[in-house]
Symmetry: C2
Subunit: 248 residues, 2 copies
């Protein structure tokens, strides 16, 4: 973790921004992230129930950007599909369902190897961003299934809260705000930083450099400290250094 | 499950309603539920980090209603505390943290026995309502810790979604609505009914009779069927009959 490497990640908060189509708000980032060398993307649709329909949506979008797309659920051997992939995209949906399917198909180790050792690009959106991080302890999703662990791919040594939402001062609802939920996580011992990525924001990781992209900014939660606000363009590379991640 | 028995439960959606104090909106229900025979309530504060502060808040409220309160975290032997309890109240907070602590302290079996066999009254609020049901698969909380299972006390054979929230038609946020999340749960096989209890609503169970109380109503989700709306006073006894719970 955090050692120099060819790691390349695009971790997007949300698949669809109000008023735009699927991945519409981040398509320029996707194109510049994948570049011209990648020809085909391996799509992992496990977070949604209807995998065929999901693959169709994703395929249409990636083809419009000039990339072929293979969905892992069409492959007879998912581990082999990861082994042969040039780039991986894990889409949003329910994070618990997604992580359980990754475990059930024994994919975590192979994805880690492809991304961290072989350096193929990894893109995640929403739940696909959650599973790229240290753990899914800060997902917003309902625990509709029980994965064998909440530990995730660990492509970065911290957590992300996608769809980060500021408190609504006009709400009469008494459920905890998002910030309160993250602070509850940090009441537990040895919990890593949590980056709250608003809808419209994404994190680009190139080796040991991490940069906040998109237009909406992010809120960073470090255990025992006050949350801080960060503008697009912020250099978050310090979060990639394990153990040093409690202080910027 | 569902067999005739002395089971007595008061399952409250939320501890505090906007504009009222702790348990203010349901205090008449609490008093009529506990009655005059109960002298002391055993409080389980595991859902919040600061157990001393939480017990103080709960104690003040219950004393104002004429009941003594002992917090289980002050007891050297939590199992023995349950064994000797006259009534149990589990308060809200983080459902994962609460359920994990119940497992860690080996309390599930003993609480089940006291409530289902010995017939002592059980009151839950929010997370305390979640853990009373079949499982915590439909909690709204963040999975800040990993309990050994999502199966809960099973005092009723269905699930509850507390703080149930209707979709906000004016929201631009793209996260799933509460109804969409519950429908995702029902995409999984063999999932029980989910009762969405709005803030201000509660379910009273007396033996094999279940009645919706409070003022805000509830929404019932049965797997494969359209959700239905229910007014205060609705008889939900059919949900207590295991296996028959898919059709009203």
């Amino acid at each position: 973790m955090g050692a120099p490497g060819p790691r390349r990640l695009l971790l997007v908060s949300n698949s669809t921004l109000r008023g735009g189509g699927y991945l519409g708000h981040c398509q320029q980032h996707v194109r510049s992230f994948l570049g011209q060398k990648v020809k085909r993307v391996l799509f992992i649709p496990y977070a949604l129930h209807d995998r065929d329909a999901y693959a169709k949506t994703a395929r249409e979008k990636f083809e419009s950007l000039g990339y072929g797309l293979d969905s892992i659920h069409d492959s007879p051997d998912p581990v082999e599909a990861v082994r042969k992939s040039e780039a991986i995209f894990i889409g949003g949906g329910n994070t618990f369902r997604l992580l359980k399917a990754l475990y059930d198909n024994s994919l975590l180790q192979e994805i880690r190897k492809r991304v961290l050792e072989d350096g193929i690009p990894y893109m995640g959106s929403s739940a696909g961003t959650n599973v790229a991080t240290f753990s899914i302890n800060t997902t917003n999703d309902m625990p509709i299934v029980y994965p064998p662990s909440l530990q995730a791919l660990g492509l970065v040594p911290f957590n992300i809260n996608p769809h980060y939402l500021d408190p609504d001062v006009n709400s009469t609802h008494m459920g905890e705000t998002r910030a309160e939920r993250i602070l509850q996580y940090h009441e537990e011992p040895n919990t890593p930083p949590v980056l709250g990525l608003r809808e419209g924001a994404m994190l680009l990781v190139e080796g040991d450099k991490a940069t906040l992209q998109g237009v909406t900014g992010a809120r960073l939660f470090l255990r025992g400290e006050k949350p801080t606000e960060h503008e697009p363009g912020t250099d978050f590379s310090f979060l990639l250094t394990d153990g040093n991640s409690q202080k910027p």
